[in-house]
Symmetry: C2
Subunit: 205 residues, 2 copies
Amino acid sequence: MSKLSSVAVLRIGHRLVRDDRTTTHAVLVSRAMGSEVIYMTEVDDEIKKTLDKVNKRWGGENEFRLEIIDNWKRVLKIWKENGGIVVHLTMYGAPINQKIKEIKESSQRILVIIGAEKVPKEVYFLADYNIAIGSQPHSEIAALAIFLDRIFEGNQFNKSFLDEKMKIIPSERGKNVMQRNQDYPSNSNSSSIYSRPKRNQNKDS
Amino acid sequence: MSKLSSVAVLRIGHRLVRDDRTTTHAVLVSRAMGSEVIYMTEVDDEIKKTLDKVNKRWGGENEFRLEIIDNWKRVLKIWKENGGIVVHLTMYGAPINQKIKEIKESSQRILVIIGAEKVPKEVYFLADYNIAIGSQPHSEIAALAIFLDRIFEGNQFNKSFLDEKMKIIPSERGKNVMQRNQDYPSNSNSSSIYSRPKRNQNKDS
């Protein structure tokens, strides 16, 4: 993947219902793009259910987790005590283009903080880096995605997820989804363990 | 910015209320990351209001627009007739890492299609490229952001927005926001046209 050993995401603030969809996106981006865990202070059951479904279908149940926490400051403190750095993504921060190299060189363990909307002022001072993914308002999901893409240099997309039931075979046209045959061990790497689902492969279009 | 002359975003599908927040994110990402227009078939008034507010405060009212359309196929057809290419972002597509160079070389005008959830099957065949920003489910906002970041190679963050009332001065700690002095012409480039707002600069933390 890269020399990075561990990336975690800490999402501060979540307004129930209003933020459910964006929170789901933040969770799935964290999972799909190489982080190991997303810490959240509050979360709707629906979001946990969505993640469980995705993990069961597309793999990685033991590689990515959503962890509910009481106290984000404690998570941050422990992360730092264990030699990790904390990067807070904010439109007010220093430009990503200028800082990404320094961040990559400074630690193999990165805790990325994103806020649902405004974050407590302390975050700006507890973080090792306040980084702007552009200085215009947009989306914490977009900011997280670009940050992870820059950190992993695109290699996050080469990751395989273990124990998946379905697997996408990249395709220039349409959808090509293979289904894992149940009689093969889940950790086999042979491509013969997959077969095309019997249903029309384009049914979901 | 780059040799690209024009990037537009076409968002297909929007389920009212449920998708309002993610749609707002898609609109703001399109604006902040170098595209000129987002075409949408349906949109809540709140989203237009949010964009208006952002344009008024942070600039770019004449540089980015949200356009409501009746018929996405027509938009796509006209785009192609004018020599542009169409890139559909989908987890089923060909890997971005393998295709980005070819896309950048093939046209200076790119229409990027993202779907709120499932898109009509025809999109896969009308697009010039079906591109996967990873083959795992995550977020069309994240996919769009990474695609634009790859296309513009980070230079989208150097863009200035005209006629802004507020401007962020990137900062390693806290928030540094300057307010445009009303007695300076809006197209002046001198930094002296800005002053720090009189209110406590960290009030919004």
